[in-house]
Amino acid sequence: MVGAMEIYMLLPKTNCKKCGLPTCMAFAVGLLGREKKIDECTPLIEEKKYEAKLKKLREVIAPLENASETGLIIHPEKCFGCGNCVVACPVNVAADPTHCGVGLGPESDKVILKVEDGVVVSNNLQECRRFGPNKILCNACTATCPSKAIEFV
């Protein structure tokens, strides 16, 4: 997954403040957090010398657009369907303690992660600890994934 530093290296690095932020680094963090858009960096769009950088930046940013509200990205092609994340997710366990809690597949509709057709799918993302402004940086699902099929932006 792309990091703020990698994005920063593709920005003009002039700290021109045209985007409304004090530094290019702050803008890079904004881009990563999906609070800012590339178009807000006017020099990058308008000036010809940044053309190559802009192209690269768009490529680097593209996967972030598939992320959900909580920044969750699932790569179904990598998933084993092992259900480690389903059983480890604290919200899943609280919603369905008699199934998810003891390692079985969930029966409740309130769970966030479940395995369908051999791969993990997400639902009810508003219940995730990473949802909203007061988010907790929980990583139970990503830390328990053996194939790196789940990522957070």
Partner: protein
């Protein structure tokens, strides 16, 4: 709720939705199980004799004829059949004075023999979930081979005595020759051994447990491992094929290690069986003959030994019946070539190298999906299951019974 027969975990919480006779949506099935069930909709076999399509009755009659005229037939496979089919298979072997062997012969057989005879302590996977605080995967990569092992039993679920589970109360260790997918989940406790170095590693653990400094590997890490094993309240070891192949006939070292660990604390062993009912066949044959595999009924007496293994018998028998297995792909070239030259009968739901080479091919229903039955999970728990979809195909049990009647 359906049961998955993709591996020997026999997950019973599968929810399948059907539309038009096919699986439209399946919940809780891992990728391996999903692939196993979806395979039912492609490359299915049809009854064939010498590569020409015939009707089922003729194929069964021809199979019976081949077996009847053979002097020393070999019956092989069995690990992907239900207990009911295995039962008929053993009776068939007795009737034919045949040699019978299953895939455990070159898989976990050597360990399973010790588990079933009681010389290595074992437990059920539910015990592991409820009590285990240390799980050791030795030469096994459950994330690839049994994807739901960690999430259902050995690491992530909460159990009676392990409510805080992997977060605080459970430790997972991996002993392997490489950084496997499972090893990425417990990086701190990955113990890498060189190829074939398992016996030496066991000796090193034994010396650490005696308080000596081990001669092998990272001494600090080994001493830490020794301390951790001593502090374990209830441990479980899951040996995979990696360990069994590495130790071969040197299983005595492992027995010694388990015995020593059990002097200090509780340690149980559950072998990572691959096929869904390999243990079932081993238990059934042991009940009837006292041996778990490699049995010849020649002369009406059950004889066991390496000469009765599929590797040796393939070269000495004069006909072979293969049930739910693909030995031509999985066995060494010499054995595969010997089998391919025989009059071969293959009972299999799907096309494989073995069915391609077989003289007679008999299609069967896929257990778990199209046929019900009973199977034994890797830890010895018997699980009964019903079919998910209706199919007109006969089950392994029905085919074998018909062959037996015709002989």
């Amino acid at each position: 709720m359906a049961t998955c027969t993709g591996c020997s975990l026999l997950c019973e919480d599968i929810e399948a939705e059907l539309s038009g006779g096919k699986l439209s949506k399946v919940k809780n099935l891992c990728r391996k199980g999903h692939g196993h069930f979806q395979s039912a909709f492609s490359e299915r076999t049809v009854p064939m004799i010498d590569g020409k399509e015939v009707d089922l009755d003729r194929a069964i009659a021809r199979a019976a004829e081949i077996l009847r005229s053979a002097k020393s037939p070999l019956l092989f496979g069995w690990s992907n059949s239900t207990l009911e089919a295995q039962n008929v298979g053993i009776s068939l072997a007795e009737k034919l004075d045949a040699t019978i062997d299953d895939t455990s012969s070159f898989c976990q057989g050597i360990l399973m023999e010790r588990i079933l005879s009681g010389s290595i302590p074992t437990c059920t996977l539910d015990d592991v979930r409820n009590y285990a605080d240390v799980s050791i995967f030795w030469g096994a990569d459950p994330s690839s081979s049994h994807p739901r092992h960690l999430s259902r039993f050995s690491y992530y679920p909460r159990g009676d005595k392990r409510q805080k589970s992997y977060e605080e109360e459970r430790t997972c260790m991996v002993v392997d020759v490489r950084m496997s997918a499972t090893a990425t989940l417990c990086k701190d406790y990955l113990f890498r051994v060189p190829l074939g170095g398992d016996a030496e590693f066991m000796e090193a653990i034994l010396s650490v447990l005696e308080g000596k400094i081990p001669r092998l590997g990272d001494k600090k890490k080994m001493i830490e491992l020794g301390g951790l094993l001593k502090k374990t309240e209830w441990g479980a070891i899951f040996p995979g094929l990696g360990m069994v192949y590495s130790l071969q006939d040197n299983m005595e070292v492992f027995e010694r290690l388990i015995a020593r660990l059990n002097e200090i604390t509780t340690f149980k062993v559950v072998p990572m069986v691959g096929h869904f009912n390999m243990r079932g066949f081993n238990e059934l044959l042991r009940e009837k003959t006292g041996y778990i595999n490699r049995v010849s009924f020649k002369g009406g007496v059950a004889v066991h030994g390496p000469e009765q293994s599929v590797m040796a018998a393939a070269k000495t028998c004069d006909a072979a019946l293969v049930v739910g297995s693909d030995p031509l792909s999985s066995l060494p070239f010499g054995t595969a070539r010997a089998l391919a030259r025989l009059p071969l009968i293959a009972i299999d739901p799907r096309r494989s190298l073995t069915t391609d080479a077989a003289e007679v091919v008999i299609p069967a229903a896929i257990s778990g999906l199209e046929a019900g039955g009973t199977a034994v999970r890797m830890d010895g728990v018997k699980i009964k299951f019903e079919p998910i979809i209706k199919a007109d195909l006969p089950t392994d049990e029905q085919i074998l019974s018909r062959i037996m009647e015709a002989i």
